[in-house]
Subunit: 223 residues, 2 copies
């Protein structure tokens, strides 16, 4: 898949980087390297604090928090392409957090050493904006997660999730996965979905949710 050309051209994918001065671009491409993760790989986790910063090129990394009791909440996802700084180093530099990053798909990323990152921040307005934008986005997403968990009814959130994640009216996910997306418990999700099925909005299979009445779901989701 990856050719030598890819290794040079990745920088053009980022609006914030493509206008850099040629010499800066060159240090950047020379001193960083493209790494890959397989689906399911742990990109970062409590304990290991990497000293580089990742820019995602392709794929999705799910960032989640795990409780002692084993329950999970998905905090946000980082996707390749747009605003996609995986703020491992910076983010995790601070005390004992409890979040891990899992590659949800095949992932391609550029690993930028700490020092190069610093230089970039110093040299490029665009890069700074880029990074801050990413940070702000993360914080906004965390705000959203808190609002959801603290304030919103679960049935509504389940309905929204099903609508959001479904492709062509089908959602491929286990109840346990949905529970972790929503910071809830598996049994609770099972019961919610069973209720939706009773109402004729969906039909259930092992690992799949088939939407039968989108309007019904949507009416709940937006109430």
């Amino acid at each position: 898949m990856a050719t030598a050309a890819d290794e040079i051209a990745w920088i053009e994918q980022f609006k914030g980087l493509s206008q850099l001065a040629p010499d800066v671009k060159q240090t950047l491409t020379k001193r960083s390297r493209v790494t890959r993760f397989k689906q399911g790989d742990t990109v970062f986790a409590p304990g290991k604090t990497p000293d580089y910063l990742l820019l995602l090129l392709n794929g999705t990394v799910r960032v989640q928090q795990v409780s002692e009791s084993g329950r999970e909440v998905v905090l946000f996802r980082v996707r390749g392409g747009e605003s996609c700084v995986l703020t491992t180093a910076c983010l995790l530099a601070y005390e004992d957090y409890l979040a891990e990053g899992i590659a949800e798909t095949e992932v391609e990323a550029v690993a930028i050493p700490r020092g190069v990152f610093d230089d970039l921040m110093a040299d490029s307005d665009d890069f700074r904006r880029f990074v801050f934008h990413a940070y702000s986005r993360r914080i906004a997403e965390l705000f959203h997660v808190i609002e959801d968990i603290a304030f919103r009814r679960l049935d509504i959130r389940v309905a929204q999730k099903v609508l959001d994640q479904a492709e062509n009216g089908v959602l491929k996910a286990t109840h346990a996965q949905l529970a972790s997306e929503l910071g809830s418990a598996r049994e609770v999700i099972s019961r919610q979905l069973a209720e939706f099925q009773r109402r004729g909005w969906i039909s259930l299979g092992r690992g799949t949710v088939q939407i039968e009445d989108e309007a019904g779901l949507r009416a709940l989701a937006t109430s």
Copy 2:
């Protein structure tokens, strides 16, 4: 309280800033100004997106989220002195968030225009580190809030809160305030506190919680 000397010397309060080159320092002091907020003032809120950045000198700003139904969660506090960038501009630049900042005490802050902030980020390693540290701290705090709300039992959190916030064994706060600190509801907190009182751990008064058996509380808090 504030003298002309204060206006010049504030910059020395910040480890990250005191080593700046003299000329940078000068632009900074010249192009920023010290503002004050009275206790209870709204420092920032949804809707108004200020185009300056605040560095807190003294006082405390409480950042909280409010739901449509009126329930609140305290997300974190920003305090003067140490890592204290009130990331209004950057943070709030992003889409529709729902957080507001309230001055909990008299607050003194330096308002830095967006452009000066950019220059500083470009010119000073220390300032960059300073800002990133603040960001990381916020994100870590938000992680912590999520963990608490999603995973921890409320009785434990109430006990911790009482222990944390009490001064000389007394906590001055209404049940409603505690509920908002913990993202819960007033009645629930009232009942928890009543239970603690039955167990002889605390005694209650209007607006106050008096700790009677710290060991008892602590045993619950750390379990």
